[in-house]
């Protein structure tokens, strides 16, 4: 037996009100419209009695589970009601099965039962709570609603709060969970952003006592959690009574995302953190060929240093060479003008001299020494110590006596190529 859903109906055992036959199994599938439950009641029960109704019986089955089994001769317990037995089910489907065996010795008339669709209170009739906050029952269904300042999620069951979207750009600030220090809302996802100007890293500080979030379960999963997401790394998720992470988190990033996720239950006090922007630092580089002004142990974003080359070194920028340049600590922790370096001054190729020679230096840089010589024995150097030149800081070859003036080779006089041999008379 099966039919379209109906609001009510009657079920009678075979041949009712005559005696039911032997060896019969008959079942009825009862269905009422969705959202309704079923009220099933018996007004007549006259079925061969047996231990546990093992021989003849009428069974009431809901969802594959036997909810009741009737047999015997039953009468109403109340003089004002014809109902002998009744059942209420919060589901809209039910099966009734009548069974008789072979061994009937007496005549039994069977049963008469009726069912009606009844309103189910979805808010209370089931084990699962359908709404996170307020449940409103109506005939055929229910709807959920939320307290003020909460909103109903798209699942139409859970309430949350609007706690996302705050963007913090100040260099210093404080952020806390909703309602802190009162219990935070359940079933919410709060997303915050700290966005500082480039050149600063977000540093978060948290006091242990300022953190109270539903603790992790036995597997270590946080039902409610606080998580920080920087550019290349994540901190957390954190939960528990007392902050479990480092009390100071240096994010190495000028932006930080904060996500506070809560589940349906177990609201605690929440959390409160402080943050500030720490300027990015630039490395202090080796100063072998240069002096840095100002000379500091640590340089940070926007610091400007004047780098002055030591004597004999210069920096070449474009077409211009100079003895100093400026460098700025940039937002990425790198120095501007990092391609510039103090290089030894270049003196170029030494000028040749008449009647003399100079060796070609391997590199004509500051400090290099060259020697001019005259073509002996026919020439000699005008200044005895005038042959040595050193590449000086001004980019010129300089001699101690002559300065930048080149040495002169003077013809040797009065020296015959071969001595005149006087023969003895």
């Amino acid at each position: 037996f099966s039919a379209e859903p109906t609001m009510h109906g009657e079920i009678l055992s075979p041949n009712y009100p005559q005696a039911y036959p032997n060896d019969v199994v008959k079942s009825w599938d009862i269905e009422v419209p969705e959202g309704f439950g079923i009220h099933l009641y018996f007004t007549h029960v006259d079925i061969e009695p047996s231990e546990s109704c093992a021989y003849d019986s009428v069974q009431i089955i809901s969802g594959g589970i036997e909810e009741g089994r009737l047999c015997g001769q039953r009468t109403s317990k109340s003089p004002n009601s014809p109902i002998i037995e009744e059942f209420q089910f919060p589901y809209n489907k039910l099966q009734v099965v009548f069974t008789s065996d072979f061994s009937i010795e007496e005549q039994f008339t069977g049963f008469a039962a009726y069912y009606t669709a009844i309103d189910v209170n979805e808010c209370t009739d089931f084990t699962d709570v359908p709404c996170s906050h307020f449940c409103n029952n109506f005939i055929g269904g229910y709807f959920c609603s939320c307290p003020p300042e909460y909103f109903l999620h798209d699942d139409m069951r859970n309430c949350g709060v609007n706690c996302s979207g705050d963007v913090f750009t100040a260099l210093i600030g404080e952020i806390s969970s909703p309602n802190y220090p009162n219990p935070y809302p359940e079933n919410s996802r709060c997303e915050y952003q700290i966005q500082l100007q480039e050149g600063f890293q977000v540093v978060v500080t948290m006091q242990r006592e300022d953190f109270d979030v539903e603790p992790a379960d036995s597997e270590g999963n946080c039902p409610d959690s606080l998580t920080f997401a920087a550019k290349n790394q994540q901190f957390g998720p954190y939960c528990g009574d007392g902050f479990p992470g480092p009390l100071t988190i240096r994010t190495q990033s000028n932006t930080l995302g904060i996500v506070f996720q809560t589940d349906l239950m177990g609201q605690k006090k929440g959390w409160k953190l402080r943050y500030h922007g720490d300027p990015i630092s630039c490395p202090k580089e080796s100063t072998a060929n240069s002096n840095w002004e100002p000379d500091k142990a640590k340089y940070v974003f926007k610091d400007v240093v004047k780098i002055t080359c030591v004597d004999g070194f210069e920096v070449v920028e474009g077409h211009v060479s100079s003895t100093s340049y400026y460098s700025t600590c940039q937002s990425d922790g790198q120095w501007s003008n990092s391609g510039l370096k103090c290089q030894p001054v270049y003196c170029g190729i030494p000028d040749p001299i008449a009647n003399g020679k100079v060796e070609e230096p391997e590199n004509s840089v500051f400090g290099t020494v060259i020697h001019y010589t005259c073509e002996e024995p026919y020439y000699y150097m005008e200044h005895e110590e005038g042959g040595e030149y050193r590449c000086a800081a001004n980019g010129r070859w300089v001699n101690d006596q002559l300065g930048i003036e080149l040495p002169r080779c003077i013809p040797v006089c009065g020296v015959p190529t071969e001595p005149f041999q006087v023969q003895q008379k």
């Binding site: 400007v304 474009g318 060479s321 400026y326 930048i404």
Partner: protein
């Protein structure tokens, strides 16, 4: 020279080598060398050679050594101070008069001066030649002469090259109508090329001839756009100076 290639002195026979510091000049006749003022402003007796390709001692010994009679810097050139690097290159032009005439030959030959007619006006995209022994992409100093072909660009292009010096003042690195901006990404003159000629073909002549439209002057960086002294604006001063000192 950035983005250039090796050259021979025969390719640029007007090229004069200035030693200490390395720089260039352009021979404009037997007795006169045109160069940038900043090349000679602190050296009234520059060491110069003509007719060399490679900067080796042996080549210098065989080259024509040019001896200075006098250095004449353009009167509009502003004296520099020793403490700060120069940033204003307006009127960056000078003449060096030689004691002895240069004997001309395949390695020694002057470059023409620009005419004053509009035919000698340059437009963005016009291609000219630069040469010198200045810095390259890889080396601070080179041995062999190098040359490159670079296009003229608008002065605005040079103005927009980013200034990285945080202490630069608004009056630094001014660009005036006495300058030509030229170059393209990767092709440029650089330190050590200063004073060399930015040469263009003389317009409307049968046999190819070159004139000196610009002199390598300055640039904030090397490898993109360089600034050249616009010689056309100084032709009257050049001719008058040579006449008065001959």
């Amino acid at each position: 020279i950035f983005g250039g290639q090796p050259a021979k002195i025969e390719n640029f026979p007007w090229q004069v080598f200035f030693n200490h510091p390395t720089a260039g000049g352009a021979l404009i006749n037997e007795y006169w060398v045109l160069t940038a003022a900043h090349v000679v402003e602190k050296n009234s007796d520059p060491s110069m050679y003509a007719g060399i390709t490679a900067l080796r001692l042996a080549d210098l010994e065989n080259a024509q050594r040019l001896y200075t009679k006098r250095v004449i810097i353009h009167p509009g050139w502003k004296e520099d101070d020793d403490l700060n690097p120069r940033t204003n290159f307006d009127n960056d032009i000078a003449l060096v008069q030689l004691k002895d005439p240069v004997k001309m030959g395949p390695k020694f030959s002057p470059i023409c001066l620009p005419g004053t007619s509009s035919e000698y006006n340059l437009s963005p995209g016009d291609m000219g030649l630069i040469s010198g022994w200045g810095r390259t992409e890889k080396r601070l100093h080179v041995i062999n002469l190098r040359g490159a072909k670079v296009p003229v660009t608008s002065l605005e292009t040079c103005k927009q090259v980013k200034e990285e010096n945080p202490t630069a003042r608004p009056e630094d690195y001014v660009i005036t109508d006495n300058m030509i901006c030229a170059g393209e990404k990767g092709v440029d003159s650089c330190k050590g090329d200063s004073g060399g000629a930015f040469a263009f073909q003389v317009p409307n002549v049968k046999a190819p001839k070159f004139y000196v439209a610009g002199l390598v002057s300055w640039g904030k960086k090397c490898g993109a756009y360089g600034v050249y002294t616009k010689v056309k604006n100084y032709v009257d001063w050049i001719l008058k100076t040579m006449q008065e000192n001959s």
